[in-house]
Amino acid sequence: MQQTEPKSPGLAVFNTALGIFVAFLFMLPVIWMVTSSIRPNAEIFRYLSPLTIWSVVPTRVTLENIVGLLQTGFARALVNSLVVTMITTGLGLIIALLAGFSVSVLEFPGRDVLFALFVVGFSVPFDAVAVPLSAQVRDVGLTNTYFGLALAGLGNGFAIYLLRQFFLGIPRSLAEAARLDGASWLRILFSVYLPLAKGPVTAAGLTLFVFQWQTYLWPLLVASDPSMQVGPVALAGLVSLSGTVDFSQMFAGALFLSIVPAGLMLWLQRYFVQSVARSGMTG
């Protein structure tokens, strides 16, 4: 990101202060979540009314919550989430890459219609058809399987759109030269286009990952077996199953579920931001 040197220092100080304040406001729930997950359960509500600095700063730090949580089967749910999300991200990326390449580089009758169908069809949120689809999935015996769970996020219109827009910007002469050298289209995709597309591929992968990681309704419908439970459902179970909620464990679970996607995003966000900026979705 190009950051030009501020012309008038006064205004820049004001902007920076405001930026930090806004960021702090948005991070408050996260800060509260983090500090509550490492303080004893009895102390979480003790310092809340009225609000003081001790509402968010723990007076005693403990790892009991995290240890206790991992003994409840939550660890298993986290592993399930990871496996399912990896399957979706891997397969989803392959589907989007092949489709994005097909509707941008290859020429065939009905190409633009196909692209429109992909984007429009996959942009209809998955949850809309989750109920009838769960019956289909039951009929083919995919309930309580990793692949069945991974189905939710496989088709992603945004990913196909990002990749197509990027591929359209690559000069055709590159593909034609490789063609004359006798390379197959698949080979051109993987050895000419893919190496150039690190940014949009990362952005598409991130989108697939974040979507699948947070799915809640679909696992509720197709994974009734407790051993196949995914993280978000297990977290909700901590809140609603027991009459008395162990809030410290709940916060610890919330923290675990947030660290993975938020960490990935912090690491890779510039690809996401660049891809959005370049995709023509703006201006």
């Binding site: 030009t4 501020p6 820049a12 100080v13 902007n15 920076t16 930026g19 930090i20 960021a23 948005f26 729930p29 509500f45 809340l48 009314s49 009225p50 609000l51 509402s55 968010v56 989007a96 509707v103 290859l106 020429e107 065939f108 196909l114 429109a116 992909f118 429009v120 942009s123 209809v124 949120p125 809309a128 058809v129 109920v131 009838p132 289909q136 088709g155 196909i160 759109y161 004359l180 050298d181 947070q214 309704l217 993280g231 978000p232 977290l235 909700a236 901590l238 809030f247 916060f251 919330a254 579920l257 996607p261 995003m265 996401f272 959005v276 900026a277 023509g280 979705m281 703006t282 201006g283």
Partner: protein, 309 residues
């Protein structure tokens, strides 16, 4: 054909294949590469939608779920005339979408303007605002749900300011607003990224010309920047509408659609219809209606994207 043989056919000096033949080969490859996505589209969207449509013209026996009877449009008529909850869920969803999209668009625009100003570390502060989109909705729901409790941290803050504690999710007049706040915390940073990209697309000369003409910052914003930001704004409004239309998690985890059905979102209504009431046909009828609305909005969204090409 081996790599060598193919090179021989198209390479040095040998006559090229006629154009038509090459294109025909390309077309087959094109269809083949798109095939996995076509299969996914059929299996994950089209077939379940057709299934829901078919089911919506039927009714299943209460005693034997495999017994199906054709009832024509009866399910649709029932929803609009007799269902005790359907129209309420439509009302709640529309109100929620309008509120949430309005709040998010205005805040996202304000923050986009802030984070394109000159300052130190602005892209890092912006990233922190963007981060909540990555946090699973279930996490946001339980954290905010705990914060909204009677003895929660938000009421602690109100007490500190000397204000009365509020019921938030426990009140039928505040629950929807509370979920709007939760949804906005999640979404604002995400939509802000699209608006920042739009703002950066506006050439500096345009803004400089305006300020040279003596237009103040506010004049420049409303008469120059905003009109040029029309397309990304339209995209954000439409895409955000789609994103919030099927809100489910906060209702499922925090409010169970209450109090007094005030957070009975359409998706929650469909879910309870299918799995609590056990009336799959009625649930599928609602799904058909939701799909019609969503398809229309998504088509508009796609047109907005295409217009740029």
């Amino acid at each position: 054909m081996s790599e060598v043989a193919r090179q021989g056919a198209s390479g040095q000096g040998t006559p090229r294949k006629p154009d038509n033949a090459i294109k025909w080969g390309d077309a087959v490859t094109g269809y083949l590469l798109a095939l996995p996505a076509v299969v996914a589209l059929l299996y994950l969207r089209v077939i379940p939608a057709v299934d829901a449509l078919w089911e919506s013209f039927h009714q299943r026996s209460l005693f034997d779920q495999t017994q199906k009877m054709f009832v024509g449009l009866e399910n649709y008529v029932f929803l609009f005339t007799q269902s005790p909850t359907f129209l309420q869920s439509v009302k709640v969803t529309l109100l929620f979408v309008v509120l949430t999209v309005a709040v998010q668009t205005v805040v996202a625009l304000a923050l986009a303007v802030l984070f394109t100003q000159k300052g130190w570390g602005m892209s890092f502060w912006r990233t922190l605002v963007f981060l909540p989109i990555t946090i699973p909705t279930a996490v946001s729901a339980v954290v905010w749900g705990t914060a909204f409790r009677g003895d929660g941290i938000i009421n602690g803050f109100l007490l500190r300011l000397g204000l009365d504690p509020q019921p938030f999710l426990a009140s039928s007049s505040q629950a929807l607003w509370s979920i709007t706040i939760l949804a906005s915390w999640i979404g604002v940073g995400y939509w802000m990224v699209f608006l920042i990209a739009g703002l950066k697309d506006i050439p500096d000369e345009v803004k400089e010309a305006a300020s040279l003409d003596g237009a103040g910052a506010f004049r420049t914003f409303f008469s120059i920047t905003l009109p040029l930001l029309r397309r990304p704004l339209a995209f954000v409004v439409v895409a955000n509408t789609v994103a919030n239309f099927l809100q489910f998690v906060p209702a499922a985890i925090l409010t169970q659609g209450g109090p007094q059905d005030s957070t009975r979102f359409v998706m929650y209504e469909i879910y309870t219809q299918a799995y609590v009431q056990g009336d799959v046909s009625l649930a599928d009828t609602q799904i058909v209606l939701v799909l019609c609305v969503l398809l229309a909005i998504v088509a508009v969204q796609f047109r907005l994207l295409k217009a740029k090409d």
